[in-house]
């Protein structure tokens, strides 16, 4: 199951809630304002690192670029729209709106 998060973790509890429910191995993709979560060195870097122990973490590169985020947490994979489509094809989507 692919979990997508589209709100900033500073604004919404969606990311922290999502992390509690993610099953090991399930990918997590940050999109829209959700990508602020993976900016390197912010308050949530430890949470992202912990999440990565069990789940692959992705961020939509165009959303990172649009927000000027060039430095992301280690091993967070930036993906394009084609990569987004690949993930959606491979997994059922759980959109934490």
């Amino acid at each position: 199951m692919l979990h997508t998060i589209n709100t900033s973790p500073f604004e919404s509890p969606a990311m922290e809630e999502c992390i509690r429910f993610v099953q090991p191995g399930d990918p997590v993709l940050f999109i829209e304002n959700g990508v602020y979560a993976v900016q390197n060195g912010n308050r949530f870097s430890d949470a992202i690192a912990a999440l990565q122990k069990t789940s692959p973490v992705y961020a939509l590169q165009p959303d990172l670029d649009a927000r000027g985020i060039s430095s992301v947490d280690a091993e967070v994979k930036g993906i394009g729209y084609d990569g987004f489509v690949d993930l959606v094809e491979a997994h059922q989507v759980n959109s934490w709106l």
Binding site: M1, P13, E17, R20, Q23, Q92, N94
Partner: protein, 122 residues
Amino acid sequence: MDDNVKKIMHVMRRAPHGSIYTYEGLEMILIMAAYEQDLSVAFIGDGVYALKKNQNTDGISMKGFAKTFMALDGYDVEKLYVDRVSLEERGLTEDDLLVDVELLDSAEIGRRMTEQDVVIHH
């Protein structure tokens, strides 16, 4: 099971009266129940406040819909899950809730999410 019956989980994540999400979510659940879908409802985060007893909305000119959750049973929506952590961190217990629910760990609710055809957040 009939191919037209989908397993659908509604996830209530917001407090009830600050936005229209909870009310609209409840409406959607009732509509889907009319189509006899296999429904479950999970209350997590501020969503657990929707089930709080003794809500009185007279003073805020909003429709009170808490009691509608009690009617879900009549529409065969019987799988109501509450995230234990969400309840505890808000200083609430099962006794504070309007309806009988299954109190579950986050991981178990997460596991049940993966069993669904569709998961809809409100």
